[in-house]
Symmetry: C2
Subunit: 217 residues, 2 copies
């Protein structure tokens, strides 16, 4: 069994949510056991890779049997930290911020939005699903008083860096960043980017690529 301290590669980590997703489906379907081979067939990774990945965290399977679905699912959940609950705030209560506040699935997973913040006086005072939009001036106080662990950054690009720095001053150590910019913050701050436009551009690239191939024929 591998030591936990040996850093797991980013490639492995980014596959974990997918394992989680498929295992949840197996649980939902009442399937009790599964082999790496059968999981491979469903999920699209090689069986070898699946076994390697799970072994980064200590093997959860049994030779000749396979993996117990529920056990494996729970382990992955634990590894992803989905057994914890986290208070979050959304900074920037525009369309995207509001959409995320409205999206109930995150709350079900343990990510609870406690407030939204904005500078726009027209938005301040409104509520989204019972979650208030507050003046950004109140943010520091709110973070301190409400055990806020994650900030979801939904401001326009222009303000993102400065707002992020302010959040860090207030003690925030984890930022989910939707602004199309790479934040420059101290190393101990965890930043996960959700760069939607980057994703769209990759789609666009593939379309251009296909177009080019078609022309060449």
């Amino acid at each position: 069994m591998q030591r936990r301290t040996s850093k797991v590669s980013d490639a492995v980590i980014r596959r974990l949510p997918r394992y989680h997703r498929y295992l949840e489906e197996l649980v939902r379907d009442g399937i009790k056991r599964i082999s790496s081979k059968e999981l491979s067939r469903r999920i699209g990774f090689t069986a070898s890779q699946i076994r390697q990945d799970f072994n980064c965290f200590g093997g959860f399977g049994q030779q000749g049997y396979g993996y117990n679905v529920e056990l494996l699912y729970n382990e992955i959940k634990k590894i992803l930290g989905l057994n914890e609950r986290y208070n979050t705030i959304i900074v920037g209560a525009g369309n995207l911020g509001q959409a995320i506040a409205n999206y109930t699935n995150f709350r079900k997973r343990g990510f609870e939005v406690k407030a939204l913040f904005d500078i726009n006086p027209k938005l301040i005072g409104l509520s989204i699903r019972g979650i208030e939009i507050l003046d950004i001036d109140k943010m520091g106080e709110f973070v301190r008083d409400n055990d806020v662990k994650i900030a979801i950054l939904c401001t326009p690009r222009e303000n993102a860096q400065q707002v992020a720095e302010t959040l860090v001053e207030y003690g925030i150590k984890s930022i989910w960043n939707f602004a199309p910019i790479d934040l420059d913050l101290p190393n101990d701050v965890i930043v996960e980017n959700a760069h939607l436009s980057d994703s769209l551009y990759v789609l666009s690239y593939r379309m251009a690529e296909r177009e080019k191939e078609n022309k060449e024929k």
Copy 2:
């Protein structure tokens, strides 16, 4: 100069939007030329990687000089297909679908949302920024009549696969998928996933990881 037909790796492709972003900033700041070394300092990739990446598409630089920012920016834009315009539809007019319809930046980049579709009668007939929400029954006709090239899939997980299949029947070949599921579609259909929860779970993983490290000390 490398041939264009030799497939460019996914790793390279996913860095292109980031190049685009930084080059746009350089253009905005009126910077005329840049070396891979200086770009490396800003963007955080190694200079070697930057030169390798650009060379996948034919070198755009000049020895002893560096890269002409505007030229490079335009090349990257072209490679990403951002000189084209695409008509899109959003399928699923819930919070996320509406947020994307509201987000004007995509339109500025050439991705124009022509309509939203939903099954919910309460939504049908409403408009988001002048874009109508239509009955999903009208989708096939609309796709045919409006030169729709991209479908943005924002339905709940349960409906996503079936809706995607319908879209493909209607001739859609490119899907930007926000539903937390891996779509199973013919190979010639381009699917780019924007799996927000996957991204959030990676953040959550990093937090759990840090927590563990702190405990071990």
